[in-house]
Amino acid sequence: MPLNIRTYRDLTEADRSGLVDQIVAQRRRVADRLATVRRVVAVLSGKGGVGKSFVTAGLARALARSGRAAGVLDADFNGPTAPQLLHLPVASCTSHDDVIEPLVSAEGVRCFSMAFLVEDGHPLAFRGPDTESFVWRGALEASALREFLADVAWGALDELLVDLPPGVQRFQELTELLPAPPAVLAVTIPTPESRDAVRRALRAAIDRKATPLGVVENMVDGPFAGSAADELAAEFGIPVLARVPFHPRDDVWEDIARSAL
């Protein structure tokens, strides 16, 4: 005779272990912190090496130069490059009672990056059991993203650009943490391989109710052949915001910032 065991959902008494309340409080803290941010823009491609960070930094600098308040959250925890691209020297981050101050570039871009926290020349490594770290490492990186969103004093921003690593996992974590789906700016290089990777990422973004702003084609006058941006634009009904040469002039970013953001 099997035991008569009620299910998890049948048990509705207050949960004194507090896990659900803690998760709810975490989400609320993210929403509260971002209440002064007009728009979150996820810069994604799904493909590595296409220049997401380069485009993110160029756009953020252009926004700041035009008088708009811009922030960059460097969500590439294992290969953070935003500080260098924003010409931001690594310095100590000031901790107040319940926030960490971002570092601010000479042009006024507010930035937070794992590069500020991890020892130069070392990988991001976590404390914990030596074996089977794959079980918890993803959860830890998602928590780091949550803390970058919720615990940094972003202040009043017109745009918070989130520089995502290759793939779609960090984007999915981002959308789960944000109170509303972000806008998305896709970056590709001209090749069919990049097109295919970006297509998957854009599809994932649309599935998550994100709003695609358009696609930026990077490295267009280099050795890469193809028409990825045009094909993606036609397929998703989004504009090609810019075609960025290998050595772009600074006003390229002003043009994209004006048209896309």
């Binding site: 008494e13 507090g18 981050c93 500020f116 914990g128 059991p129 959860a139 949550r146 803390e147």
Partner: protein, 148 residues
């Protein structure tokens, strides 16, 4: 995660958390009807998974510190990553015994400012005048500060 006392058909209630300091965790749950207590014992990987989510079984009586998970978990943190000069409790508050100071000095600089603030807040919250290693041990268990 919930526990059911099958015999009484009652949801068991969280009672107490213990951190032996070896990466494992014990959480006790009591049946409100018959009083029976069961303990959930997690292995280091399970303990780490819960901590990775930034939550504590049994909760915490203090609000989370900024970047608490990152600061508590990153093993390759820069010594000078954080300037905790703005922390509260530097002017007035509980004093530290010399043994407690020595123990605090062994905490990596990356996380030390935060750990110090947590112990100060804990002691102040409970009217404790002097922070000793015993106070630190109690706080660590009560607050679920594995590895701190």
């Amino acid at each position: 995660m919930k526990f059911l006392c099958v015999e009484c058909d009652r949801q068991m209630q969280f009672e107490e958390r213990q951190l032996p300091g070896d990466g494992t965790l014990a959480a006790a749950f009591r049946c409100p009807t018959c009083g029976r207590v069961v303990a959930l014992l997690t292995n280091p990987m399970e303990t780490q998974l819960v901590a990775s989510l930034g939550v504590k079984i049994g909760g915490s009586t203090l609000p989370p510190q900024p970047m608490e998970t990152v600061r508590g978990m990153v093993a390759t943190g820069r010594d000078d990553a954080f300037d905790d000069g703005g922390e509260t409790g530097e002017v007035r508050g509980p004093i530290w015994s010399s043994e407690a100071r020595e123990r605090l000095a062994r905490v990596p600089n990356f996380v030390r400012g935060m750990v110090k603030r947590i112990y100060l807040d804990y002691a102040r919250d409970r009217g404790i005048d002097e922070i000793t290693p015993a106070v630190m041990d109690t706080a660590r268990t009560e607050l679920g500060l594995e590895g701190m």
